[in-house]
């Protein structure tokens, strides 16, 4: 069982790293880039005891309490069996 957690900056929170990446890819000639936002991605392996439901609960709690800062970030959890 694997939990995938995506942490992204909330809309409206400045992302200077995303801006720098956007600037760089534009310098490389990529066109039509409207915005780049940088986030974080976590893969969490869970042992067999966790079924889909409890795995989601564990991953959601980790995302909320540790992996994201709710002041500036949102998170999304996906469970893969």
């Amino acid at each position: 069982m694997k939990a995938k957690v995506y942490v992204t900056l909330k809309a409206g929170v400045l992302d200077p790293q995303g801006k720098a990446i956007q600037h760089s890819v534009e310098l490389l000639g990529y066109e039509g880039i409207v915005d780049v936002r940088q986030g974080k991605y976590f893969e969490i392996a869970l042992d067999g005891a966790a079924n889909g439901e409890s795995a989601r609960e564990i991953a959601e709690r980790m995302a909320r309490e540790v992996l994201s800062n709710p002041v500036i970030e949102d998170y999304r959890v996906e469970i893969e069996s």
């Binding site: 400045l14 200077p16 540790v66 992996l67 800062n69 002041v71 500036i72």
Partner: protein, 232 residues
């Protein structure tokens, strides 16, 4: 009165804080390893600058789970004094003891220079000896000092007079050009509602000796000492 300086793996301004308390404040001070939990001996604790846990995940994010932090929360709830400097401010924000968050500097650079801050209130245990409007010259050294918060939080900070320092120019004008990191409303330091917990990004402990370019930081420690002496 007794001071404690908390030491996390990766703290690197702990000795500076210790030096200032022992030499300039002239009070007993001890290091507190982050696995300790007994703070009963202390009147004030300093969470020093550095790179606790290598700034992994987010600056200050992992330090907040150290055993000592539950005690610091309790310590603060009892009305005793907590001063977070630089990484210490980041840790206090992550721990929810101060509102908002500190994100990557606007220009992405690690900034290491002397800047100016304006004292916005004398009404804290840490600034009682500082006149409102006074300009202090202090060093900053950080990559994540860009203070962010939502509109409601900012309005609350302003209404409750909890913005303690703002970045300004040498004459005390709070301008965007004088904002080194993009912080909202030029915020360099804030306190909690009860005013016994303060966090700031600049390093007053590195500005207590003229030899180091400024001794403006001494009055912050002097203020705290006066507060503690008045309570004793």
């Amino acid at each position: 009165m007794k001071f404690g300086v908390i030491v996390f793996p990766g703290s690197n301004c702990d000795h500076d804080a210790y030096h200032v308390i022992s030499k300039h404040v002239g009070q007993p001070v001890s290091f507190i390893w982050h696995k300790e939990t007994d703070l009963t001996d202390y009147d004030a604790v300093i969470i020093p600058g550095g790179f606790s846990y290598g700034d992994y995940l987010r600056a200050g994010a992992l330090a907040r789970f150290s055993p000592v932090m539950a005690s610091v929360k309790q310590f603060a709830a009892e009305g005793r004094f907590v001063l977070g400097i630089c990484n210490g401010f980041q840790i206090l924000a992550e721990a929810g003891l101060l509102p908002g968050a500190l994100i990557r500097n606007r220009d992405l650079h690690f900034i290491c220079q002397h800047i100016h801050v304006r004292v916005e209130t004398s009404d804290t245990p840490f600034t009682g000896e500082l006149k409102r409007g006074r300009v202090l010259r202090l060093p900053v050294a950080h990559a994540e000092g860009n203070y962010v918060c939502d509109d409601a939080t900012l309005a609350g900070l302003e209404r409750e007079n909890r913005i303690v320092f703002r970045y300004c120019d040498a004459a005390g004008n709070v301008t965007d050009a004088a904002n080194p990191n993009g912080s909202r409303a030029n915020i360099a330091g804030i306190c909690n509602r009860e005013r016994n917990v303060m966090g700031l990004m600049p390093h007053p402990e590195r500005a207590c000796e003229d030899l180091l370019g400024s001794s403006d930081g001494r009055d912050i420690f002097r203020s705290l000492t006066h507060t503690l002496a008045a309570l004793a």
